[in-house]
């Protein structure tokens, strides 16, 4: 992102901001280059942290680097001591509190949680070395060399790139590469698949080095010769690379910056790694060895090397696989206890009590104690882990309705498939871009490319707005049906238009109480609309670029948005600035979903990873890799344990949140999957795609089939069963209508929506 703005347009103020940012967060120097738009209100991130002490930033960085080194060398005690002495306790939370996921806290912006620090420090070092500046290098352990520099403190784009200014005979590059290729081809089968992972990052970095050093012809020849060897799922990135032929181009290219600022993560078994290391050292192949050391992060594990299939299922993301530690944090994926409202009378009393002026804090407390007496799901977060809005009377009524409906719910399964009712949008020539249903399926909202948002009522009940102020003053306020009287019958209609955006509306979401509607758009705003007055209430400005998706929390009040600026933001409806910023994705955040317990947020991105963020502290607690294309939809299972994701590659992947593992792959769609939804009881997953089909999958079987033994959980090596065909329960073709939204009613009727596209 930084790169985008780095063009001719006012580069100066930007630099200023950058320095500011780095002064404030010395812990995360990777910030600016890591993808956060520098102009973003960085201050908002600081909700957790006190504004950084005015310690000299260079000194702190030195300290940090040392800490990093200690940690790498597993000298935890000394690290702890040093930390305490240096008074860097708040950083503890940073790099250790969330264990590996550390640096992500508060939107620190380190691309990979850990390497956010290390890599940027490193790249600066590398740059410094190249420019032959003096640097006091510490002896490095096998893989990374965290070094301390005294020089410049900001990894400017140029510096990042400067890491490439290495000397080396360009003619020898193909020789090196094919030498390595020959070596890897000749090793034992079991190691070959693992070592082959090195090819792609190596190829890219070698190519970039050639381009940077202005060996254009050689670079082109190198690319032509070897790009065919790369895995096909890197094709999109290769296409971008192929266009990049001049060193001037490298400055503004985001993809390239991603590659540079974040280390490509590989998981290789110790044996394979030793093999590679020995080979490279024997051959004195420093060129390749340098690249591996500087640009790759090799996550070594003990045990059997992985098979080709295992590797393929996990790779594909922009920056390699997730590190093992990245998925180790504990996630409370259980559901919150439902407040007891079986006896409505009782509850109303309680509510009345509360309203009468008891401090608000009391309620959650009560809840949590109450739930403990019942058997609490051990995986559920504390009821009061994040403050949730109190239930209103209307919410309770709705819950009761919900429960009533639930008793009439159809039990689904392979034997009893759901009926599908499809809502086709006709005459939507301007382009339907987003759809949402309310939870009780009474309203439908559509976002269109012509900036409009429309709301339909799908029940016979028409949409009514509140009367105008003048008319309202005439109403008898004491009458029983005052709530009825304030509604304007005259203007009631089946659909209402909401005007306000100035660009295509890409995401839309109803609040759980059906009073509000959120929409986000290309115009970089998120808007909150009232469904009482059908007017816009707030425009949330914070994203500087198109906002791709937004969603209300299942408990209302909070909402999440994500956009082209690579940051997902958590908002509360009554704050005009975001409460949290989740940064770490290397490309656009394309979709955002709340966990059913509202304590976590999942984001899918164009960097082909999915991240799970903790709402409480902003940490990234899960990174899922395995998709081969930008992710366009996510869905949590109703029990909160599983996550499903769909991408442009047409595959749907299933994830176990607790273990942080991929547990299933559903193949069948031939085009982007835009809609995913679990049935109310979670037995069936429905997926809708650009290929005009709705498919139903047997999730019970998919989840049962996997056996997550301790070994798999510990190593993260998964073998996916090839059973997509068995899991597919049905495939229903629409008539030239891409499916862009799916929704299960409370009785488990499946609703679909899409625009007829002749």
């Amino acid at each position: 992102m930084a790169a985008v703005q780095d063009g001719p347009i006012e580069p100066e103020p930007e630099n200023e901001i950058k320095t500011e940012a780095s002064n404030e967060f010395p812990g995360n120097p990777g910030d600016a280059s890591g993808g956060v738009p520098p102009t973003a209100p960085v201050a908002a991130v600081a909700t957790e942290k006190p504004a950084a002490a005015a310690t000299d930033s260079t000194e702190r960085q030195t300290l940090l680097a040392v800490l990093q080194f200690l940690k790498k060398s597993k000298l935890f005690e000394s690290e702890e001591i040093l930390r305490r002495e240096a008074g860097l306790l708040n950083e503890t939370g940073d790099s250790q509190g969330a264990a590996p996921g550390g640096a992500g806290l508060g939107g620190g912006g380190g691309a990979e949680p850990e390497s956010g620090d290390a890599s940027s420090v490193l790249s600066r070092v590398a740059g410094a070395v190249a420019v032959a500046q003096s640097a006091n290098a510490t002896p490095a352990p096998a893989k990374v060399a965290p070094v301390v520099t005294g020089g410049e403190d900001q990894p400017d784009v140029n510096v990042v790139l400067a890491a490439y200014s290495q000397q080396g005979d360009p003619v020898l590059y193909p020789v090196y590469y094919s030498g390595l290729k020959r070596f890897i081809d000749s090793v034992l089968d079991c190691h070959r698949a693992e070592l082959s992972q090195v090819f792609y990052p190596l190829f890219v970095h070698m190519y970039l080095e050639l381009v940077y050093n202005q060996y254009e012809k050689e670079a082109k020849a190198f690319f032509d010769k070897f790009h065919g060897d790369q895995e096909c799922y890197y094709k999109d990135d290769l296409r971008i690379l192929s266009g990049l032929t001049k060193s001037e181009h490298m400055k503004g290219n985001e993809t390239l910056l991603d590659f540079r600022t974040s280390k490509f993560v590989l998981r290789i078994s110790r044996d394979s790694y030793q093999l590679l290391k020995r080979h490279l050292q024997e051959r004195q192949n420093n060129q390749i060895w340098n690249i591996i050391q500087e640009h790759l992060y090799i996550d070594i594990f003990d045990g059997m090397p992985r098979s080709k299939g295992q590797i393929d299922s996990m790779s594909g993301s922009l920056a390699g696989e997730a590190k093992r530690e990245a998925n180790k944090a504990k996630v409370f994926y259980g559901l919150l206890k439902e407040p007891e409202i079986e006896v409505p009378l009782d509850d109303e009393d309680e509510e009345a009590e509360n309203e009468e002026g008891k401090p608000k804090k009391k309620k959650p407390k009560k809840d949590s104690t109450g739930s403990k007496s019942k058997k609490q799901d051990p995986n559920a977060p504390q009821q009061s882990r994040i403050p949730l809005p109190e239930l209103k009377d209307s919410d309770k009524l709705d819950k009761i309705m919900n429960m009533k409906e639930a008793t009439k719910r159809v039990r689904l399964g392979p034997e009893s498939l759901p009926s599908i009712c499809f809502y086709t949008f006709l005459n939507a020539y301007q382009g339907l871009t987003a759809v949402d249903f309310t939870d009780d399926s009474s309203l439908v909202a559509g976002g269109f490319a012509d900036s409009t948002v429309r709301v339909w009522s799908v029940t016979p009940k028409k949409l009514r707005g509140v009367k105008t102020a003048g008319d309202l003053s005439l109403i008898d306020k004491d009458s029983d049906d005052v709530l009825e009287r304030i509604m304007d019958e005259k203007t009631a209609s089946e659909s209402k238009n909401l005007y306000g955006h100035s660009g295509p509306v890409y995401g839309i979401s109803f609040s759980p109480d059906r009073n509000y509607l959120l929409s986000c758009s290309e115009d970089a705003t998120v808007r909150l609309w009232s469904l009482q007055t059908f007017t816009c209430l707030v425009g949330y400005k914070g994203h500087n670029y198109p906002v791709w998706d937004t969603q209300f929390s299942p408990y209302g009040y909070y909402f999440i948005s994500g956009g082209h600026d690579r940051v997902a933001r958590l908002w509360a409806t009554d704050h005009y600035q975001p409460l949290r910023m989740f940064s770490g994705h290397l490309a656009d955040v394309t979709c955002t979903r709340f966990h059913p317990n509202s304590n976590y947020v999942a984001t899918g991105s164009a960097d082909r990873t999915i991240r799970l963020w903790d709402v409480l502290n902003g940490n990234c607690v899960r990174i899922f890799t395995g998709h081969k294309g930008p992710i366009h939809c996510l869905a949590f299972s109703p029990n909160g344990k599983f996550l499903a994701s769909g991408a442009t590659d047409g595959r749907v992947l299933l994830w176990d949140i607790g273990h942080g593992l991929m547990i299933g792959e559903l193949k069948g769609h031939t085009d982007t999957v835009y809609a995913l939804k679990f049935s109310r009881d979670g037995e069936i997953l429905a997926s809708g795609s650009m290929d005009n089909t709705v498919r139903l999958w047997d999730t019970v079987k998919a989840f049962d089939d996997i056996e997550t033994d301790d070994f798999t959980a510990a190593t993260g090596h998964i073998t996916l069963p090839e059973n997509s065909q068995e899991l597919l329960l049905g495939s229903y073709m629409t008539k030239s209508t891409p499916v862009i939204h799916l929704h299960f009613t409370r009785r488990n009727l499946l609703l679909g929506a899409g625009a007829y596209n002749p």
Binding site: G228, G243, E248, L426, V444, P504
Partner: protein
């Protein structure tokens, strides 16, 4: 996967000539080659970058097509001013020109006469977005309703019927291609194809439907019939019932020919037409039943009880058109339908003893097959036929029937041969010369040819005009269609052929209480084809009592000369071929302008357009009336 891997990524660059051309266009001349080179690399890279960004917008817009607006947004992302004025709705009509060793693609901007635009009535406001619900699946089963795609796609039906071997012995052909590369897949494939072929059991609902439909099709209520035919022509779930329908038609024709029941024969032919119009059905497997029935209706010696009064000629014309259509759709090198049909027709035509009725049928059948057939088979025989007609007309009066027959054959020949001769012969049209060449029919032919030429000239002039008058945005066209059919602008085709047979029916049995028919409606079907010729036809649908024989010639003056609307009164007695032209003062009229989107859409109409404009025009005419019936176009 392997293939994907092999696909080459190449770094394409804009040619340096473009750089030069662009530089010249903004007044920078004499660019150095080196500069151009650097520029083109830079520009190519930037363009790629922008395109990659605009793809994001396409994906989020949930489209497969990249739009100009996506590029605008991508430019905005880079803080670049978007390009204004490039909101092409459809394709960008680049024209190609070459000459002087240069190839050029340019955007053609026509000169537009403002007064034409001002005088054109405003296009209708496009319909608002609306939402329609339907059942995509009911407890796991997809119901066969028009909103859902057909259960057995047409391609599959076609594959099953045209390549039965492939279906029975799967993998034979594939084996060659695969070479055991992927044996597992092969095995799976065979397992898949062993599933039982389509069963022919009908559900209770389907049986009920079949009964209702067949009864309505041959019943006395015209409104019901129209509905039934509409259903046959559009319903996607009829695949299972196709064998029943085809038997029904074939048996029906067999019985009713013997009984000379003209009305029923017409109904059955309309069913055939409706079946052929159904976009989800592939009739190949049932041609053995349908073709004999259709051919019977073309050439049978007697089709009605009173051959001197009843208009069985229209039925023959109609059936001939059906025949031609099925030839075009289904004729392959293996079944040779077209050549077999041609032989049949020719054989009975050449027979001296053939009656006038059959003779008429044979000629009509041949003529509908296209210009080439007319040129090679009919025109050489004009002289012979002319003398035969002469014998009837000038010889001793044998019977009224023969006289009528000869008259019809004569007008038929004139109608079909004139356009062909107009194309084949070079202008000076000399009556004497024609007499020498074509015998008795020569002089008449000559006048027809002259007319045909005049028409062609008129059309050529009107090319621009046509494109102008149609300012309907494309959405409006498809509107009435809704989600009903997957074929793009095919509303024009959806309905069945009501015009001709209905008129003849009415005339045949004047006593039948006619349904309250809508006021006469006119359709102007305009299509601007890709080529230089633009056809424009005036279509008349006068559903009230017009007298025998008259209407078909009226409509057959196609392609019409009239630029705009030809008016014809609703209750007037049959107008002559051109008499409607000046009748602007007659009673109230309706006309509806239906514009066919240019280019590719023509192909969807019928493949016949290219080869035989006359045929296609008529097909369209048959189609259009019902469009009016169902489309919400405002009439005035």
């Amino acid at each position: 996967m392997a293939e994907e891997r092999r696909s080459k990524l190449s770094n394409t660059l804009l040619p340096t000539e473009s750089m030069k051309a662009i530089a010249e266009s903004i007044g920078v001349s004499q660019m150095q080659e080196e500069t151009c080179q650097v520029l083109s690399e830079e520009v190519s890279y930037r363009i790629k970058e922008i395109l990659q960004d605009s793809l994001k917008f396409m994906h989020h817009g949930k489209r497969r097509k990249l739009m100009t607006s996506d590029i605008d947004y991508a430019l905005k992302l880079k803080n670049v001013e978007p390009l204004y004025g490039f909101h092409a709705q459809e394709f960008i009509p680049f024209r190609f020109a070459s000459g002087g060793g240069r190839e050029l693609y340019f955007y053609e901007e026509k000169e537009v006469d403002l007064s034409d635009i001002i005088n054109t009535p405003l296009p209708r406001v496009p319909l608002d977005v609306s939402m329609k619900a339907h059942w995509l699946s009911i407890e796991g089963v997809q119901p066969a309703i028009p909103e859902n795609p057909p259960p057995a796609p047409k391609e599959q039906q076609k594959a099953e019927s045209t390549e039965p071997l492939k279906a029975v012995k799967p993998g034979q052909e594939e084996e060659g291609q695969l070479q055991g590369k992927d044996k597992k897949k092969l095995l799976e494939g065979s397992a898949m194809k062993l599933k039982p072929r389509s069963t022919h059991e009908l559900s209770v609902e389907q049986q009920l439907y079949y009964k209702e439909i067949t009864e309505a099709c041959v019943g006395s209520c015209e409104a019901k019939r129209a509905e039934a035919l509409q259903s046959i022509a559009t319903d996607p779930g009829l695949y299972q019932m196709l064998p029943r329908f085809s038997t029904f038609i074939s048996e029906g024709v067999r019985v009713n020919v013997v009984q000379n029941n003209l009305a029923l024969l017409i109904y059955l032919m309309r069913m055939v037409k409706a079946l052929m119009d159904n976009p989800t059905l592939y009739l190949e497997k049932y041609l053995h039943e349908l073709i004999p029935a259709v051919v019977t209706c073309i050439v049978s010696r007697q089709l009605c009880l009173r051959p001197d009064v009843d208009n069985h000629w229209a039925l023959r014309d109609f059936a001939a058109r059906l025949m031609a259509q099925s030839c075009k759709t289904f004729s392959t090198t293996t079944n040779n339908i077209q050549s077999r049909i041609t032989k049949t027709f020719t054989k009975s035509w050449l027979d001296e003893k053939t009656q006038w009725t059959t003779r008429y049928g044979c000629i009509a059948g041949l003529a509908e097959l296209g210009h080439d057939v007319i040129k090679t088979l009919i025109i050489p025989r004009l002289q012979v036929e002319g003398s035969r007609i002469k014998a009837v007309n000038e010889g001793p009066i044998i019977g009224n029937i023969d006289k009528i027959g000869a008259d019809h054959v004569q007008s038929l020949l004139l109608k079909h041969c004139a356009p062909v001769i107009a194309k084949v012969r070079c202008p000076p049209d000399n009556q004497e010369q024609y007499r020498v060449e074509y015998g008795y029919l020569g002089p008449m032919l000559c006048t027809h040819v002259v007319k045909a030429r005049a028409q062609a000239a008129m059309q050529a002039q009107q090319v621009n005009r046509t494109t102008l008058t149609i300012t309907q945005p494309r959405p409006t066209l498809t509107l009435s269609q809704g989600a009903q059919s997957s074929r793009t602008p095919s509303i024009i085709k959806v309905p069945s052929s009501i015009t001709l047979p209905m008129q003849t029916l009415v005339s045949a049995r004047p006593s039948t209480p006619t349904q309250p028919s809508p006021p006469p409606t006119k359709f102007i079907v305009m299509s601007s084809s890709t080529g230089s010729t633009t056809t424009q036809q005036v279509i008349t649908l006068s559903s009230a009592q017009s007298s025998v024989t008259s209407t078909s010639p009226v409509t057959s003056t196609v392609p019409s000369l009239q630029p705009l609307v030809k008016l014809e009164g609703g209750h007037t007695q049959g107008a002559g071929p051109l008499s409607g032209g000046g009748g602007a003062s007659r009673t109230m009229q309706k006309y509806i302008v239906v514009s066919l989107p240019p280019a590719g859409d023509n192909k969807t109409l019928t493949p016949s357009l290219e080869s035989n404009s006359a045929t296609s025009v008529k097909l369209e005419r048959d189609d259009s009336p019902a469009t009016g019936n169902q489309s919400p176009q405002p009439s005035h």
